[in-house]
Amino acid sequence: MAKNEKERRGDGATERQGEKASAVVGRREMIKLAAGAVIAPALPQAGPKNGRGPAKAQTSAHRFFTPAEFEMMDELSELIIPTDEHSPGARAAKVAEYIDGRLAESFLDEPKLQWREGLKLVDQISVEINGQPFMQSSPDQRVAVLTRMARNESSPERPEEKFFAELKSGVARAYYTSKIGIHDELEYKGNTYLKEFVGVDVSKG
């Protein structure tokens, strides 16, 4: 949804932005070749301590996430873009639901694996620093998990740091292309009939 000439000028071509655009909700079902851009590493299967193993066949209304994964995804999205005095947040904008739909239909398996393993990693870090899984942690403890994941945002290296980049970019893309994101949050004024262009007519001196 970005602008064409700007992207053509190369905004989409730097490595940093290449990563940024790698949200699964984008057009990223691709084989990443830049070494730094591989987000899903092989992870140990040490799941949450609640005994639930790797995701199985869907039993929820969601198409990709299990109910527990969806709940976690929904909470993570709201932590990244919360409701504030200005506008509703990611939960109200149904960001998790949109990401769920895109992952469900993903052509390649990599993004599915990336997100599933990434969520496991969130729990793993939560256990590590809070002593319990993410959803069982307190609001402050959840923020602490995300803060840890976000700490090298400009040049992520560790698997959880890379997943944060993917997660945030995916949440942002889903939120800012939603009705709430475009109209309530950003108060976008365009895409409307204009009898005359807006701004200064420099041909009039």
Binding site: R27, M30, F107, Y188, V200
Partner: protein
Amino acid sequence: MQAAAPNIPNDSTVDLKRVYDAIIVGSGAAGGMAAYVLASAGMKTLLLEAGKRINTTEELKSTEWPYDHPRRGEMPPGHHALTFNEYTFRKPPYAQGLKANQVHSYVQSWGGSDYSKNIVVDEKDHPYTGTNYAWVRARCLGGKTNIWGRLALRLSNYDFKAASRDGYGENWPIGYEDIEKYYDKVDLLLGISGVKENLPNLPDSLFQRPIRLNDPEVHLRNTLAKMGRTLTPYRAGVTTDGVKNKYRIRCYGRGACNRRAGGCDIHAAFDSPTGLIFPAFDTGNLTVRTNATVSEILVDTNTGKARGVAFLDTVTGRSYEAKAKVVVLAASTLESARLMLLSKSRLYPNGIANSSGHVGHNFCEHVMGPRVTALVKDKIGAKRTLDDGRPGGFYIPCFRNLSERNPKFIRGYGFEGDSGTPMLPESPFEQPGFGKGYKKAARDYAGATISLGGFGEVLSRYENYVSLDPDVKDRWGIPVLRFHYKFGDNEKKMCEDMADTAQEMVEAAGFTVVNLGRNILTEGWSIHELGTARMGADPKKSVLNQFQQSHDVKNLFVVDGSSHVSASCHNPTWTIMALAWRSCDYLAGELKKGNL
């Protein structure tokens, strides 16, 4: 509302027994203009297009909101758009070995790619080999004009006579005085928006209502004026006051053309079907055959002249011939060269019109990459304004090598840019952190940047060329192009200067640089490929004369960008159309005189 497309008869009804006055191969800017001029001159004309007919009025859905589309405008699963990294670290054919049902060029990684996926080609069907090149192709009626960037600039004698000024390369066989009235005709027929600036190196057009600038853009314009440089509203090949054409209506500023790969479903932006082909069809003199992949120009062995073309039905693969008194190539710079090279015969063993050996050579274009994004402090947290309801932002014309001589490089570059809040800003992807602070920063910085990026002239060099690959063939069994093409030292030095001056200009305006890009994008990125069958007075050093007529084969014309002698740094579409008009006027006259 604009009128619906005329009822062009089905491909299977096209009469291939008759001898047409002219066959035109390709239906983009050049082919559309050739069809318009020749059909208007009363010539019975057959237009062959390799791709299909697309109803872009239905397809583009320019006012659809992202959230009303199941994938927010993105392509369905299984479609893949090539990335900068893939163009950089792999070799063509880029689609080879990729796990995807369909592979597209990088333009399909822009927003709204679902709306343009049927306009661009599937790279799997259309491989090429050799050096890295980001080749963007659209195979459908109208070609790339269905999604073009719309910047419509004239060339000047700084371009046509560049060789006399700096001693490099060849002059064009024409001067500005030869083409000026054709630029005027194109302006009046198709509509162009802009502001007169009286610049010697960027002549003004006959402009309609201009695009307006927002405050940071006006501020940069005023700053540059003090530096002796110009920032002018985007010269858009868009009718803003309307033109006499029932298939088009004037721009009403939805701005979707700027949010996506392009495309205008009200056809205010020029596209070849509504601007040229439909009016040509309405003369009664034009026959259109789509899904016609031309594979060879046929030669009359007695006269040495072209007698028609051989083509394959793109869908069925069945082969056909079409006959004409004149053959006009307008298949694009690279496809026209490919077709000439494919047309080998006893008379023309190196390919038709190629006694000079220059077909495929002198390949040039524009180099891109250096760009700057800067922060406009006054705009942080400012009240939201409507900034993207227009077909473009601004253009900064070339200011290098005009009166002075740069010690490091010859020729020049210009910048395209804009400021303001788009529908999906960069700020959510640029601002760090998460939570309320992040959300507020994304909101506050959404409209607070200005950015610009350069387009520079790539020198025409004999050693930059395309040839036929001896082994690799496309889906239809036709040999593909092999690229032998690299940017040179002049381009690299020019790009260093481009990044320096981009920084210098925004800083002079008091903006703070947040992102300075110095990297050069892959060859081909500008989608402005030119020069592979250049014009010239000397048949030993050029393929075409000043009327885009083959030196060797008098009834063969090549009216697309392949004829350009140098790339200039100005976007080529308007020049392609002005030249095609001039040449087709000449062609029609010569045919009437019996000289072809």
